[in-house]
Amino acid sequence: MIERLIELARTQSDGADAIWRRSDRTGLEFEAGRLKAAGVSEESGAGLRVVSEGRVGLAGSTAPDPAALVERARASAELGEQVAIAFPKPAQAPDVKTHDRAAADASIEQLMDIGREVVERLTRDGCQVNASVERIVGETTVANSAGAHRSYAESAVVVGADIRRIAGDDVLMVYDQFLAVGLPNAKDLDALVESIVSRLDHALTIAPPPEGSLPVVFTPSGLAAIMLPLEQALSGKAVLQGVSPLASRKDEQVFDPSFGLIDDPLIAGRPSSRPVDDEAVPSARLPLIENGKVRRFIYDLETAARAGVRSTGHGRRGIFGKPHSDYSNLVLRGDHSPLPTTGRGVGSGTIGGGLIADMKDGLIVDDLIGVGQGNVMGGAFSHPVALAYRVQNGAITGRVKDAAVAGNVYELLKKIGGWGNDGRWLGSRWSPSLLLEGVSVASR
């Protein structure tokens, strides 16, 4: 299919690239402790980009008729901007494990067993347990008129579970998920269950919120609010638009010297890993921040062409819409924190990642409300807590409700109080907990 598409586009334009993607999903929904629904989804489609007289045009369809697709892409190019996109030539791309045969071959009964086990182990009085198991098997092919062509098989398994506990008007929900290319093993399921149960158990007691400028441990999930401004600011597109506060600060000591952030598309067994990006650029590890200094920004073909740099291999595209730049696996680590050597796992360890032993009074923040609202890029944040724990004299004393945390990411990350020993995957991000000092905590 994609060969014909590129061939046809080549004869009618100055150059083209395309993506073809097929994905088959099998999903199970457990609601209130019982399996309620089983579903499958089969989807395929193609996205085409052509360059015609220096202008770029796009078209996508789930019902790809090559001639119609080329015609629509050419019509789109008539309106398009001039961009000197250079499609990458054929090159050796690394191999990376993106597909697991056992996961692809797993029967629906096997997937049911996984869900049932999780539900059984989470079941307790007065709580509602929901879970889902999803297995995705797919194939991606990217190709261009310069001769680059790469196909790879993919798989992913997601096991998600939540416990809801309602007592009067107090609503508590604790959620976690396993995500990997392959099936979870016994240890992975142990970690998933323990993660949910320990966060629930510590939340049963309500503690009064502290107030003031305090040390706060952000767990891997709590870190979303801290990471989001950096993710936006490290995009080459933001640099190009003149809105990234990090654009002019390359190689300066912006963050704590222990702070490192890498984009790594070559980690075996992660669903966001890939041998080439969606524009056929071979994948490579990219250090974004090293020793607290900004090193690189991510680029796709178009932003790279406009900025006069090379694509870093961060083109991402779906069937519809335009390729844009996006991260693969983001790995956050300090000098001595462990590497994500394995592609699997929810991670283990106690809440707080071993960072609360010396904490006299503070918070552990696991989830915040409203992350992503407001003016993210500037680094200032202010959010009510969704799930947070009070720490007093080195121990968790209960869940804190009705509190809000605020600060500025760029100020807080100048000094990191400690790196946790609880590194784990959360979606496509690996990180341990981080201890940050001087976070503003207010009660209400």
Binding site: A38, G39, E43, S44, S76, I166, Q373, A386
Partner: protein, 459 residues
Amino acid sequence: MKDRLTAALKASSADYLDIRLESTTSSAVSFRGKRLEAATASVDQGGCVRALNHGCGWGVASFTSLDELPRMVQRADELSRAVRLERPIRLADVAPQQADAIMDLDGDVRGVALADKKRLLQEYNDLMLGVSDRVVDTQASYRDEVTEYWFVNSEGTVLYELRPEVVISGVAIARRNGTIEKGLESIGLRRGWKSAQGHHEAFRVVAERAAALLDAPSVKGGAYPVVLDSELGGVFIHEAFGHLSEADFVYENPQAREMMTLGRRFGNKILNVGDNGAAAGLRGTLAFDDEGTPTRDTALIKEGVLVGRLHSRETAAAMSEAPTGNGRAISFRHPPIVRMTNTYIGAGQGTFEDLIKDIKLGVYACGAFGGQTLLENFSFTAAWGHMIRDGKVAELVKDVVLAGNLFQTLDRIERIAGDFRWNQMGGGCGKGGQFPLPVTEGSPHVRIEEALVGGEVGS
């Protein structure tokens, strides 16, 4: 197509089966700053089959290749039979419907050249860029679609619908040294090309506001009497209360059922809340939901008391209540789940001026950059705000973030003005991995006795 679908239905032995088929023709244009990002036209088509057998669970199969329809019907049936249930799933009765629901295409977007759509968006975008040299960046997007829609089920419902939609949005980013502010305009309509015209003023206003916010102080954090404008009032009731009214949150959970017992008092006598999927001409409006149930106006809170909730056929049967036509899916890629349509706070009495005249010091919170609810706790980021001083609207302030507890806040709604309006915004609602679902929110000005306003929390 109807014949093909009814033939596929007849070939199945499932106790209940429905088939939804969609073919969506869309076009999209986007600008970033002065630069056109893309102008494209797309076709997206596919279907979804749901099967339910007695003593079994749901079997669902979705697909993009229509040739696979017979195989997918069979697959859904098999999947249903693979899920054994002790307590069976029941569906509330809905009379079989046969209808062609052709909505007003209002200038069929499929007949308008892509170049004209680009030109229109460029006008809006240029207005934002031209406001001030402080406006350093913009993001503008135009998207339209017309969906041809078929729904059939084994009870005899056969529907054909034509559903148009236009969404136009613009973000103006103003910058002075290290300070960045934004303004957002967003229009979402279940209409066509004609209604996409003439929004120039709105785009200019948001860009001016973004530039003005650069000079505005942050609101000082604390508890204030707060007046919500219509847009924020609508977002508040959708996020903070609407989601709790979705019966799939309560129907399997005894504690949640208790919390949301009909008859419970949630607010003052002046508070009326509802969800109306049948309201004329709104983005969340449809003649039927994605289970073939006719939509309607459902009262949720009447004079402060909980009187109803939103249902799919399954949740309605489980709670022995009537189905409300709120089973919706964002596309053929998903099965329907319980969702809102057009959610509102009903009109009260008096004017905005009446509402604020006895507030000595308060906050007028306007527009919405976003809102999130985590069950009983919520956080809303207003697009901008004004202080209210001595009964009058005073200076512009920024960083107006409202946070609070739903139950306390509903209880503290003390005044509701008579100036109700619907806010037809773009974006949409997200739930269970299904985003963005077209919805509308409506509200008059609403006064909350006291609410926590963040922004500079702790300072």
